[in-house]
């Protein structure tokens, strides 16, 4: 038999190829499946490969004992040439060596024993066709997802550059406005009336806040754009710098910063780790109405690869419903007049933690202080 046996007629239906050297078996399969599938028949491996090259076959039903190329070798060949075709091996007598070969090299979908029950034959082919459609659908979704990812990555990069450029370009005119408003205040002095003095003061406050926002935006975009400098980083040294940077703030508030001794050493970007903990400690002091605002830092090993640093304060606490949103950029829980700031600090914290392949979460209740738990791996992975 050298041409397709045109059983069935509806071209949209899935095509099934039966490879068997018994014409009666090919005819029986074609007849049994004619209502739902287009069935092609081949008497040996060469005919099967020729038909597969000419038709879009969904499922091949391959007898294990064939003249020439055996069934298990034929399914291997089909897998290499037409990986989308689902392969089923058929035999009248189970041969474990042939079956192992068909599974390992031909990656068959299933195995049918002769003589089969017609329902079993149809069920198996149904499953094979459904599996093929699912696999094709998965591949299509995968391709779409990949394209979306590429597009998002590109857009994200463009957005980062845009943010950086805007923040950078805003800074210069802002500084000028700030300077001119200061000149006005200094030069006009008491020549402006009370309203004028208030307007000048308002300009100064707003430009000052805008400068802070722009600085935070620049800091955030730098976290994305400037590569990390990973090195062995003793956290003792990180917190020594944090203490030094926040010395005035602690003094001004009449507060206390207590850091546990013998902190671990981990692989990280020391500059960013300082920024991370500076933000957390500063928040602990800022959002705090206790007589002695206090921040305590402790560390403990989670396992041999990970350490948790807890930053605990006795501040005003964070209501449960806000705890997941506080890490979003510019998300504020209080009016600026109550607690100054831009709302970018915890977004910066999260970015730094994620860049170190770590995690951060907060345990808190309103009025009972907060504990920020930062988990960081001891060894950095790119």
């Amino acid at each position: 038999m050298s041409v397709a046996e045109p059983w069935g007629s509806i071209v949209e239906r899935a095509k099934v190829l039966i490879v068997d050297d018994e014409p009666a078996t090919r005819g029986a399969v074609a007849h049994a499946l004619r209502r739902r599938f287009d069935v092609l028949g081949a008497g040996d491996g060469d005919e099967a490969l020729a038909l597969l090259a000419a038709h879009e076959v969904a499922v091949v039903l391959c007898d294990q004992r064939l003249p020439g190329l055996s069934g298990e070798h034929l399914v291997t060949e089909i897998r290499q040439r037409h990986p989308d075709v689902v392969r089923l091996l058929v035999t009248g007598h189970y041969d474990d060596t042939a079956f192992a070969h068909a599974v390992n090299h031909g990656q068959i979908f299933g195995f049918l024993r002769k003589p089969w029950n017609e329902d079993e034959l149809e069920r198996t082919i149904d499953s094979a066709v459904a599996w093929r459609r699912l696999r094709q659908e998965n591949a299509r979704i995968g391709r779409e997802l990949e394209a979306s990812n590429e597009r998002l990555t590109r857009l994200n990069a463009e957005l980062r550059h845009f943010t950086h450029a805007v923040a950078h370009d805003l800074k210069e005119p802002l500084r000028t406005i700030q300077a001119f408003s200061q000149f006005l205040t200094d030069d006009l002095g008491d020549r402006v009336d009370e309203d004028g003095a208030q307007y000048l003061s308002g300009i100064g406050r707003c430009t000052g806040h805008l400068m802070l926002l722009v600085d935070d935006l620049l800091r955030l975009s730098e976290l994305e754009n400037v590569p990390m400098r990973i090195a062995e980083t003793p956290l003792d040294e990180v917190f020594a710098q944090v203490r030094s940077l926040l010395h005035s703030a602690v003094e001004d508030r009449g507060g206390a910063l207590r850091v546990a001794t013998s902190m671990p050493v981990l692989q990280g970007d020391s500059g960013r780790l300082v920024t991370l903990f500076q933000n957390l400690v500063a928040n602990g002091l800022k959002f705090n109405t206790a007589p002695i605002p206090t921040v305590e830092v402790t560390a403990c090993a989670i396992d041999s690869d990970c350490v948790e640093i807890a930053v605990r304060d006795n501040g005003i606490g964070i209501p449960a419903e806000h705890q997941t949103r506080i890490f979003n950029i510019f998300h504020r829980l209080h009016r600026r007049s109550e607690y100054p700031g831009t709302g970018a600090g915890l977004a910066i914290v999260r970015k730094i933690v994620e860049a170190h392949r770590g995690s951060v979460h907060v345990d808190s209740a309103e009025g009972e202080g907060a504990v920020f738990r930062v988990r960081l791996p001891l060894r950095h992975t790119a």
Binding site: W7, E22, T25, G27, A28, H31, A32, W116, N117, E118
Partner: protein, 271 residues
Amino acid sequence: MSLTGPELDALLGGLVHALANAQTPLATNLSSLRRDVAGLVALVEAWTAAAQRPGGLTAADLAALQAQREALYLEPLGPTLDGLMSDMGEGLRRSQTLLRAARPLGRWWAPAGIVFDLAEWWSRLPTAGAPWPGVEVSFSPPAEASVVGETRVFGDPAHLTEAVSQLVRNAQRATAERAGAGVQVALTVEVDAWHVRVTDQGPGKTPALITALAVPFGAAAADRVGIGLTLVQWVARTHGGCLTLNDAATGGLEACLSLSRGGASWSEPRS
């Protein structure tokens, strides 16, 4: 020496496979036809019920019945019905043939060895006149010069007769359609071994022959069982010898049964 485990496994595996192959169209077609008939009965019942309603068949009835008929896919059924029935009959006949061929296999399980004289055994082998008709068979009895010592050997004469007969039958089949083609059978006796060569002028060592040699019941042709060469191989092995198939120098096939005179694997010769 009797059959080994792998030989028995191959024999049963081959038989099961061949039976399954024979029964597949039988079982599949039977099941398909049962469905087809059930569909037809349902169609006739629907038609009858519609026709018996007051007012008879309406256009909607006809459309529904037509749709029901189309869902049966009857068109491919008509022309192939004879073919399906014929395949089923053939599957049944094939199964019976295989089982008939398998029934006497038990007597090949272990040969009954005796000491016998080759010349005498050879002289009593079937001649071209009776059981091997149609093709000329020529014997080359052992020449005195090629016989060293006596011509007694140890083995099962019945098994050996069957093995040689099988090779001759194969050779006859291979040459049956070739006018003027002949089959030669020659016996050679040596000090420790003896050989029977069956040479024909058929198509030689074909892929089908190689399959038949390797796979019991693996015959591709519908009128063959595919156990003959397996039996000859067993006889050769149980007599401490082997069967080789080669393309003959003059064209065709040379099947050579080479056997040990003492039966290498027979520990205690019995007489």
